[in-house]
């Protein structure tokens, strides 16, 4: 960066600090304070989200220890290709979101819109694949409480001939695995739906030029949220899909 750009940037920052642009809320002293406050608030919010998911991960940890063979049997009925595909989709969507934030930072409206659009599509794609999996599990009577049969688990899974069939009481325990599976993927999907909805609103606002005027905090903070939801999935995928796949 040569001295010219630095000088230009300093002048710009100084200008922003003294002016009161429309997006500076009345109770903040300056833009820096507003931006710091909103980013800090977002990180705190993500902390509460960690605690929220933490309760479920804690339950998962306990029950997986107690009923390991039931968890293995449950895990082996999931479509590993769907899980892998979804993981890929989400990681790519995190990349596109990061690119969207970058586009907002350098104030390029069209790339911003484009990256946001791709992120939305990837998010919807994830939900479609997840929906397909849930439908499959419903058809196979794997939904505890509503539609569950232990039949499949008292026999050897043909895809995993090495597995032993479960004793009837352990086969009952597979319900715990599925409860946690639906709970955790369900909560994750809920976060995805909320994320896609918010991103759609941001997209509409961005079309009017909202985030390419230096006011990038909403896009930046949404990016944090999106990455967080992504990371939750990065944990869910091995914990739910990859139990004892090497055997």
């Amino acid at each position: 960066m040569d001295s010219h750009t630095i000088a230009a940037q300093t002048a710009e920052t100084a200008q922003l600090e003294h002016e009161h642009p429309s997006f500076l809320h009345h109770h903040f002293e300056n833009l820096a304070q507003q931006r710091e406050a909103s980013t800090f608030g977002m990180w705190l919010f993500l902390l509460t989200e960690i605690m929220f998911f933490g309760g479920m991960f804690c339950a998962y940890l306990i029950f997986r220890n107690w009923y390991y063979s039931a968890f293995v049997a449950g895990s082996h009925t999931l479509h590993i290709w769907a899980g892998t595909l979804n993981t890929t989709v989400l990681i790519i969507s995190s990349f596109t979101m990061a690119m969207a934030v970058h586009a907002a930072e350098v104030r390029h409206r069209v790339p911003l819109l484009r990256w946001m659009m791709v992120t939305i599509l990837l998010g919807v794609g994830f939900l479609c694949i997840k929906g397909y999996e849930w439908h499959d599990e419903w058809v196979n009577h794997h939904v505890p409480g509503l539609n569950f049969s232990i039949e499949e688990f008292t026999h050897v899974n043909p895809a995993y001939p090495g597995d032993k069939p479960l004793a009837p009481d352990m086969a009952e325990r597979t319900q715990i695995y599925y409860s946690l599976y639906f709970l955790m993927t369900g909560m994750h999907a809920l976060h995805m739906i909320i994320g896609v909805s918010i991103l759609t609103i941001l997209l509409i606002k961005a079309r009017g030029g909202a985030f390419t005027n230096g006011h990038i905090a909403p896009v930046e903070n949404f990016g944090l949220y999106w990455h967080f939801v992504d990371i939750v999935w990065i944990f869910l995928f091995p914990l739910l899909y990859l139990i004892s796949r090497h055997q």
């Binding site: 109770h27 304070q33 909103s38 705190l44 509460t48 605690m51 998911f53 715990i176």
Partner: protein, 553 residues
């Protein structure tokens, strides 16, 4: 009895022409306001409403227990009444009242900010709170719930046919209001402090509220997921808490108390913040050991996350974890004692005046000490097996939450009432109410310690006749206590129109909030204040000529 109040000349005193109260009029200007002070007032109205419902339930409980074979309520109605009392009082009064009312009003004023960091989220959390409260009230109207406030599984999930889902839903929704309030406060305290307001110039009130907010942010999501699981268990039977499917009812207890024990400190930490302010002001002295008091708030907040299993000593947790949790619980007594000693040391050689807030404060110190010490009894494993699930526990947590927290809240409301409304409450009536509250409270709950020690179980609708004398004493005390609550409600309302005009700083206090007009402007400070002194610098304050906040520009 000396007094420290210095009102302006009442023949010429006028309320400020423009303030947050009269800037705009009409219901809409309140319901859509983003002003933290107006939101605080709305919280005050909401929590007072829920307090009245919870209080009515308490009255029914005490009436029922007047006679050994409870002639007033049927057994299952009694279960619903004490559950309603617990749910409403804990989740819709004690948890929100001090943070959301006094915290909302005072935090921006004390740190020299124009508002909290996220005013819109602040308003949203009020609506969440009221929505949760309305769900809870509807739940009561449509049959109530008889789980107690703890939703203990498998009772709540498999053996009851009452409105458990609605009750859990109400708390679930209100929980998000707590999370957002906590989040707002933390960001406000970190990012909105006025120039010169360093961490160690902050009033201790802010330190307490900071610790409270951390608990809100970290603990509340856990009860949200615990209650969501209870609802799912009831509606579709997911089995996580169902032993028949391999689930574990004790897991619920862990998740529930992981929130609910820290929540107990949510109910006391703000009170400690209020007491620090009042003690300093009415002893005209800096709080003794400022740093120790500040860090003891943080320590209580941190310890609160490592003591939850002391609610489960008799529920089959392992002996070793019981030992560790017992030890951790006793450790909480250390920071609590630091506070009590430091307040006492502040009073030592202070020039104490016994105005109403100070009387409530003295009441708090006495009642909280008893409540806290009996907590140490309950933390000892052997004692706990004898005392748990008896009235001893009931008396213990009422001493802390009602005797402690409500006394502190009353101290705070009286102390800041002139700032909130611009008018004084009637001082002599205030003192009478403070004394009535203290006497009534002890009369109500001290007999319950004895009852519990003799073995009277809690939550029962009837009891053996030999316990009647102490129960009658307790019920009689409850009527005195009720007067202690109703009297302030009446004279606070009276004072809105007829109270003496207070002026900006009737207590001659040093905090930043006292340096602006009462009631304050919507934007709090005309110009951003620059802070050059600590909140308790009463020697600095004695120099009246410099007693004005320098402003920018």
């Amino acid at each position: 009895m000396s007094t420290s109040v210095s009102l302006p000349d009442q023949s010429t005193a006028r309320l400020p022409k423009v303030s947050y109260l009269n800037k705009e009029y009409g219901l809409k200007s309140w319901l859509l306001t983003k002003d933290h002070k107006r939101i605080a007032i709305m919280y005050l109205l909401g929590t007072t409403f829920f307090f009245c419902i919870g209080g009515a339930m308490a009255a029914l409980i005490r009436l029922q227990l007047l006679t050994p074979y409870g002639d007033l309520l049927a057994a299952d109605t009694y279960n619903k009444v004490f559950s309603a009392h617990g749910l409403i009082m804990v989740f819709f009064f004690l948890v929100p009242v001090a943070p959301a009312v006094l915290g909302n009003f005072l935090i921006p004023l004390m740190i020299g900010a124009r508002d909290v960091a996220f005013p819109r989220i602040n308003l949203f959390s009020w609506y969440l709170f009221m929505t949760g409260g309305c769900i809870e009230v509807c739940m009561l109207v449509f049959g109530g719930v008889d789980t107690g406030w703890t939703f203990t599984t498998p009772l709540s999930t498999h053996f009851l046919n009452t409105q458990v889902v609605a009750a859990a839903m109400g708390i679930f929704v209100a929980g998000f209001s707590s999370i957002l309030t906590g989040l707002n406060f933390i960001v406000t305290i970190h990012r909105m402090r006025a120039p010169g307001m360093t961490w160690f110039r902050l009033p201790l009130f802010i330190w307490s509220y900071y610790a409270t907010s951390v608990i809100f942010v970290l603990a509340t999501p856990v009860i949200a997921i615990a209650l969501a699981l209870v609802m799912l268990e009831r509606v579709i039977g997911i089995g996580v808490f169902d032993p028949r499917m391999g689930g574990d009812p004790l897991l619920f207890q862990h998740l529930f108390w992981f929130y609910s024990h820290p929540a107990v400190y949510v109910m006391i930490l703000p009170g400690m913040g209020i007491i620090s302010e009042v003690v300093a002001c009415f002893c005209r002295k800096r709080v003794f050991g400022y740093t120790a008091v500040a860090f003891s708030s943080v320590a209580i907040g941190v310890f609160s996350f490592f003591v939850w299993a002391h609610h489960m000593f008799i529920m089959g947790i392992s002996n070793y974890s019981a030992l560790v949790f017992s030890l951790m619980t006793m450790l909480v007594a250390v920071p609590s004692a630091i506070k009590i000693f430091n307040w006492s040391a502040t009073m030592y050689k202070g020039s104490i005046s016994f105005d109403t807030p100070m009387l409530y404060t003295l009441g708090f110190i006495g009642l909280f000490t008893i409540g806290g010490l009996t907590g140490v009894f309950l933390a000892s494993l052997g004692m706990d097996i004898h005392l748990t699930e008896t009235y001893f526990v009931v008396a213990h947590f009422h001493y802390v939450m009602v005797g402690g927290m409500v006394s502190a809240l009353m101290a705070g409301l009286h102390f800041w009432w002139p700032k909130i409304t611009g008018r004084m409450y009637p001082e002599s009536l205030g003192r009478v109410a403070a004394i009535i509250l203290f006497m009534g409270f002890n009369l109500t709950f001290f007999p319950q310690f004895i009852l519990g020690y003799l073995g009277m179980p809690r939550r029962y609708w009837a009891y053996p006749p030999e316990f009647q004398a102490l129960n009658v004493l307790s019920s009689a005390g409850a009527t005195v206590l009720a007067i202690g609550y109703l009297l302030p409600i009446c004279y606070f309302i009276w004072s809105l129109k007829y109270g003496k005009i207070a002026g900006s700083n009737p207590w001659q206090a040093a905090g930043l909030e006292w340096q602006v007009q009462s009631p304050p402007l919507t934007e709090n400070f005309e110009q951003t204040p620059i802070v050059t002194h600590e909140a308790y610098d009463y020697e600095w304050l004695a120099n009246q000529t410099r007693n004005e906040v320098p402003t920018v520009g």
